[in-house]
């Protein structure tokens, strides 16, 4: 029997496209429990997720590799509007813009419903939540907390 864990926040219909997607290496890494992000293959500058050519040296070859899953909060909001049909959480939820130790920035919510919220500049660890079978990087504010909803199939 496979145990599927439903996401605490969003409907499975928001699961990202993975196959053929420009971010496929990120999702493949996330599935292995690794935070995988793009760098310039020539000068190792951290690149935007959809960047095709390095703005530092002009090289067009990109290397995706695992990075340290830690960072600090660049900005943070609490989303009070919960779109019916897309958001399943019953309470307002956080969205964080995180500066990663690797030099990248990544938008994420939290792995589970958070017991408290970080402020700008606070450190965060990155883990993963499961949305419709796709592992999504998320801030792990409560490492001991289990995923909130479980269903069996």
């Amino acid at each position: 029997m496979t145990v599927l864990t439903a996401d605490w926040l969003l409907s499975d219909t928001l699961a990202p496209q993975v196959e053929g997607d420009p971010l496929a290496p990120l999702y493949a890494g996330s599935d292995r429990g690794e935070l995988v992000l793009p760098f310039c293959a020539a000068c190792a500058l951290p690149l935007d997720l959809d960047q095709q050519v390095c703005d530092g040296c002009g090289a067009a070859e990109i290397t995706w590799r695992a990075v340290e899953p830690t960072g600090t909060v660049h900005s943070m909001t609490v989303m009070h509007r919960r779109e019916p049909g897309l958001v399943v959480a019953a309470e307002p939820y956080p969205i964080l813009d995180v500066e990663l130790a690797s030099g990248h920035r990544l938008i994420m919510t939290t792995r589970t419903h958070p017991s408290s919220l970080p402020r700008i500049g606070d450190p965060v660890a990155v883990a993963f939540r499961n949305l419709g079978g796709v592992a999504i990087p998320s801030a792990d504010l409560d490492p001991a907390a289990p995923p909130t909803t479980e269903a069996s199939s």
Partner: protein
């Protein structure tokens, strides 16, 4: 021909509707007809057409097929212009350039949008758009639904860096509403005080519903001409313009939303031979209250004060030193992207502002931004003597 001969000589606006209804093409057709009539010209006088539309919300957005749909004959200039919220100013720049170089004589710029569809509110329509691929797909899978949370993150960061407060947002929203009271075309015309503002629900902290623009279904068309023998009796000259496209990267240890825009304003002023103290009104792109505050500072319009101080002192309101978003802006007037500030500038410079008319307004700065403050455009307009 000199740049100062190019003028906005016709303006047509549909009613701005908060209800679902007509398609963008139908709205564009109405605005076009009104603009041609306002300018006293016919289709046959027009040899250029520029169209603009918003991205993503609906598939049947306005495009170059409007040349045929809108009843035009052969044209010398036809383009769909697209740099997000800075599109309207880019259209005016494109039209002016074509006229100055002799490519065309009279160009119509049309923007139409109809994001409101049956069965969904505006917030819902935007929340459901954006798709599941690429960076946007990952952001949406992280709860970034619609455009409000994007600007909420930007607002939180800006407030963290600048020391601006929720009181500043409140002052901006209530001041902008004060202008809307005098604008019959504004979709929200009830007085708003701090208490009413604070009663507005939070959408994404720190932004409340009343910090957010009101999307409408509507269209605006503008006739731009270098022919001094035609058009509305009050010509609104294009005196200068500028653009700035800061190419931003999202990296740790750096900002990715701030800076940019001042050079666009500097260039527009320089072309006009004017300084900031010459500006009678400022019509800025204000999808969120925080954006107006940021732009007032970035454009260098606050006399060295913080934007919050400037606004709370009444400088942007009726009777202030720099009346700003005098039709209620996108917050309380209507959100038709860059056409909102452009149309209001034309109305003010013609002296047609009625209850909200700024006495003696003869120069206007029009601002445009696109994306996540990635594109800046500025336009300097002056009523012809």
């Amino acid at each position: 021909m000199t740049a100062s001969d190019v003028a906005l000589v016709g303006l047509g606006m549909t009613a701005m509707s908060l209800s679902p209804g007509r398609a963008p093409q139908e709205l564009a057709r109405e605005a076009l007809g009104l603009a041609l009539a306002d300018a006293g010209v016919t289709h046959g006088d027009v040899d250029g057409l520029l169209v603009g539309s918003s991205q993503g919300i609906r598939p049947d957005r306005l495009g170059v097929a409007f040349a045929a749909q809108g009843g035009f004959s052969d044209l010398r200039l036809l383009e769909h212009v697209e740099i997000k919220g800075a599109t309207t100013i880019a259209m005016i720049q494109r039209a002016a350039l074509a006229i100055e170089t002799g490519v065309a004589r009279t160009v119509v710029c049309v923007f139409a949008d109809a994001p409101l569809v049956a069965g969904k509110g505006a917030g819902s329509a935007y929340a459901h758009s954006g798709g599941q691929s690429g960076v946007r797909g990952l952001e949406r899978a992280s709860g970034m639904l619609g455009s409000v949370p994007t600007y909420a993150l930007l607002a939180q960061r800006w407030m963290h860096l600048s020391g601006a407060t929720a009181d500043d947002l409140c002052a901006m929203a209530t001041t902008t509403r004060a202008w809307a009271l005098g604008n019959p075309a504004a979709v929200v015309r009830t007085p708003l005080d701090a208490e009413g503002y604070l009663a507005s629900p939070l959408i994404a902290e720190p932004l409340r519903r009343l910090d957010c623009a009101r999307p409408v279904n509507g269209a605006v068309a503008v006739v731009v001409s270098g022919d001094t023998g035609l058009g509305h009796p009050v010509r609104v000259r294009v005196r200068g313009s500028g653009r700035e496209h800061p190419v931003r990267h999202r990296r740790a240890g750096a900002e990715s939303w701030f800076g940019g825009g001042r050079r666009a304003v500097d260039d527009a002023l320089a072309a006009a031979g004017m300084s900031r103290s010459d500006l009678d009104v400022a019509e800025l792109y204000d999808p969120f209250s925080v954006v107006t505050l940021m732009l007032l500072e970035e454009y260098g319009l606050t006399d060295g004060r913080t934007a919050g101080e400037f606004v709370r002192a009444g400088e942007t309101g009726p009777g202030g030193r720099l009346p700003t978003n005098t039709g209620g802006g996108q917050l309380s007037g209507f959100y038709l992207q860059g056409m909102t500030p452009l149309a209001e500038a034309v109305i003010q410079l013609r002296g047609d502002g009625g209850e909200r008319q700024v006495a003696g307004a003869s120069t206007a700065l029009v601002g445009g931004i696109g994306g996540r403050l990635d594109h800046h455009a500025a336009l300097l307009l002056e009523r012809a003597a």
